[in-house]
């Protein structure tokens, strides 16, 4: 990528559009379409309060999808999201029961547990060369098993700390929910890492061709492991925020985030084969998925219909622009 020269907005716009990924443009077009459809249903759909509320809900998915994107850029996948989310939420809430020290350590401890899951995934994928889809399913099962043993099969009684609730529902800047600020910070950090650091370059390189990346002197295994650890940590952080939002953790709270997080990344134009994609696309994908969910709930669609529409929309969109190149 050549460095952009600082010029007038008019001078930059055409180039910006020319360089934009068609998938990202399609995703944004779909967002506009959804907003239009939504506004037909209800007048308040386009009100700033409602949109801000949507953005707040989107930011939980956004945090989780950030980690998922990093892993997908490597050409891998992280199917341990559901229980990484639940582990983050439950462990943070559990830590809160241990007095003032526990309350202070609650959030870091939740994230730490997610990072541990991610490291196990990373070791499996990078060093043991187990297909990521399999090892992450396995760690997901183990994490579930651990939580079932810990909670005795019921949702835990511990509740979220004040700090967790503040992060998820508070307003540090008037009018802007904290969750949105957190997503913006994490997103900015991710953009910086992906475009301005050697690690980011290595991620794209490995996604394109791990052999070539290895031969050019990158410690590809370390990069893969760090990426999985980050993904686990971000999933757990998403869980911590969700626990703060609902003020407690629940058994299957992460189940609703696996398909959406993958879909958000892939609908945003990131190649599922790795090596190609931008964070802007993921942002578009996350907003797209959240708006879709919100329209379905505004239409009072039952859970069954939601699942069906959801799956159909994702397959349809992938068929539109997520297809692998013809092999011959």
């Amino acid at each position: 990528m050549s460095e952009t020269t600082i010029g007038g907005i008019a001078g930059r716009m055409p180039k910006f559009i020319r360089r934009a990924d068609p998938a990202v443009l399609t995703a944004f077009a779909c967002i506009v379409l959804l907003l239009f459809v939504g506004s037909l249903y209800s007048r308040s759909f386009l009100s700033p309060e409602y949109l801000l509320q949507q953005l707040k809900v989107a930011s939980f998915l956004g945090v989780i999808a950030t980690g998922m994107m990093l892993v997908i850029l490597l050409g891998q996948i992280d199917l341990s999201v559901p229980w990484s989310v639940a582990v983050g939420a439950m462990m943070a809430s559990a830590m809160a029961a241990f007095g003032p020290v526990g309350v202070a350590l609650a959030i870091p401890f939740g994230i730490f547990c997610g990072v541990l899951i991610g490291i196990v995934n990373g070791i499996g994928v990078a060093y043991l060369r187990i297909p990521s889809m399999i090892i992450t399913l396995a760690t997901n099962a183990v994490a579930q098993g651990l939580m079932v043993v810990y909670t005795g099969g019921f949702s835990p009684q511990d509740s979220a700390t004040r700090a967790m609730r503040y992060l998820a529902t508070g307003f540090a800047i008037p009018g802007v929910p904290n969750a949105v600020i957190i997503w913006a910070l994490i997103g900015a950090a991710m953009v910086f890492v992906l475009t301005r650091t050697g690690f980011g370059r290595a991620v794209y390189g490995i996604g394109n061709r791990e052999r070539a990346a290895y031969l050019s002197g990158i410690d590809t295994r370390r990069v893969v492991m760090i990426a999985f650890a980050v993904s686990g940590g971000l999933s757990a952080f998403g869980g911590v925020l969700l626990a703060g939002y609902a003020s407690k953790a629940a058994q299957s709270m992460g189940d609703a985030y696996l398909l959406p997080s993958i879909a958000a990344v892939v609908l945003g134009g990131t190649s599922i084969l790795g090596g190609r994609g931008s964070y802007l696309g993921t942002v578009a994908g996350v907003i797209l998925i959240t708006l879709l969910q919100s329209i379905l709930s505004v239409m009072q669609m039952p859970e069954a219909g939601r699942q069906i529409i959801y799956g159909v929309v994702i397959v349809a969109m992938l068929l539109l622009y997520g297809r692998a190149p013809a092999s011959r």
């Binding site: 043991l128 859970e303 994702i314 068929l319």
Partner: protein, 326 residues
């Protein structure tokens, strides 16, 4: 290489799974309070057969180097459908069975069409179609309920001649009617070849697309047989998200235990069946040793983790580090 040694090398995974199953089942029955009786065997086989069908379904797809994360949901969907249709007089019941199996076949065919002709990644495509199938299941059965032709259900889950579990006989029949013809047909060879090296298979004029499509479609059919059997055991239909997901997960565990390579082109459904039976037996071992049932999910997860990690031993044979990245 002599013929029998070649055969042995090819069937190593299957034989290993068979061995694990025999050892586990011996430990299980010898510690079971009732011992090795027809009743214990019948209960164990009824539980094991469910997973065996789903594992066979997964095997067909895994052989083509794909994966089907919607098998559990097809299983759930057909269970819900069967709780509506497989009831009434003989003709009605027969029609219901055909309709349920046809639905499974259709679900598998949709997966195959999207993955092969739509050129989408199997993981994402089947997670998405799984959501659709689960949605339809939920539409059919918002709450657990329904009923099934109990004469047929009892006949297929009971015992033949008082000794042989009928479900095992059905499993054997399905193997003989579906798996054996498929694996020996041109399409079956094409599925193996596509999983082993799609490029080479294409260059040699093997009908890889048709082979892969047949594998996905038959996978749906086998999952539907599993769903039908679940209805026979429980007499009800239940659209349970957790149970569908668990069956998908366990089917992968069973496939790995059964010596089917996740990279495609290697293994057989027979191995996966023994993998499934072994996995079920290991899970039930906890009960005969009086562990708290709460530990079962963790125990099964750890078995899965160990099973998939065993493949890493192949790394010791790698001479050139570049082979890591194949």
């Amino acid at each position: 290489m002599k013929d029998w040694r070649y055969w042995l090398a090819e069937q190593r995974g299957t034989l290993l799974a068979f061995g694990i199953f025999i050892v586990m089942f011996t430990i299980y029955t010898s510690n079971h309070p009732a011992g090795f009786t027809a009743n214990v065997v019948q209960t164990a086989s009824n539980k094991g057969v469910l997973l065996a069908f789903v594992a066979m379904a997964q095997t067909l797809v895994v052989i083509t180097a794909g994966i089907d994360l919607s098998v559990g949901m097809i299983f759930t969907l057909t269970n819900c459908l069967a709780s509506w249709l497989v009831i009434g007089t003989g003709i009605e019941t027969a029609f219901g069975v055909v309709a349920v199996l046809g639905t499974g076949l259709l679900c598998g065919a949709i997966n195959g069409a999207i993955v092969i002709y739509g050129r989408l990644q199997p993981i994402v495509a089947t997670i998405a179609t799984g959501a659709v199938y689960f949605g339809i299941a939920l539409l059919l059965r918002p709450f657990p309920g329904g009923s099934v032709n109990e004469d047929l259900a009892d006949a297929l889950t009971g015992r033949l001649f008082g000794v042989v579990p009928a479900s095992l006989v059905v499993l054997l029949a399905v193997v003989l009617l579906v798996w054996v013809p498929f694996s020996r047909s041109v399409l079956g060879r094409a599925a193996y070849a596509a999983g082993s090296s799609e490029m080479a298979a294409y260059m040699s004029g093997v009908p890889i697309r048709r082979g892969k499509f047949a594998a996905y479609a038959l996978g749906g059919l086998l999952a539907a047989i599993g769903g039908l059997f679940l209805t026979f055991f429980t007499y009800t239909g239940d659209a349970a998200y957790a149970s569908g997901n668990a069956y998908t997960l366990f089917s992968i565990a069973a496939v790995v235990l059964g010596g089917v390579s996740l990279f495609g082109g290697k293994g057989s459904a027979i191995g996966a069946i023994f993998g499934a039976l072994a996995f079920r037996t290991i899970g039930d071992l906890l009960f005969v040793f009086d562990f708290d049932p709460l530990w079962q999910p963790l125990f099964q997860g750890v078995i899965l983790l160990i099973a998939v990690s065993l493949g890493a031993f192949a790394l010791f044979r790698v001479r050139n580090r570049l082979e890591w990245f194949l």
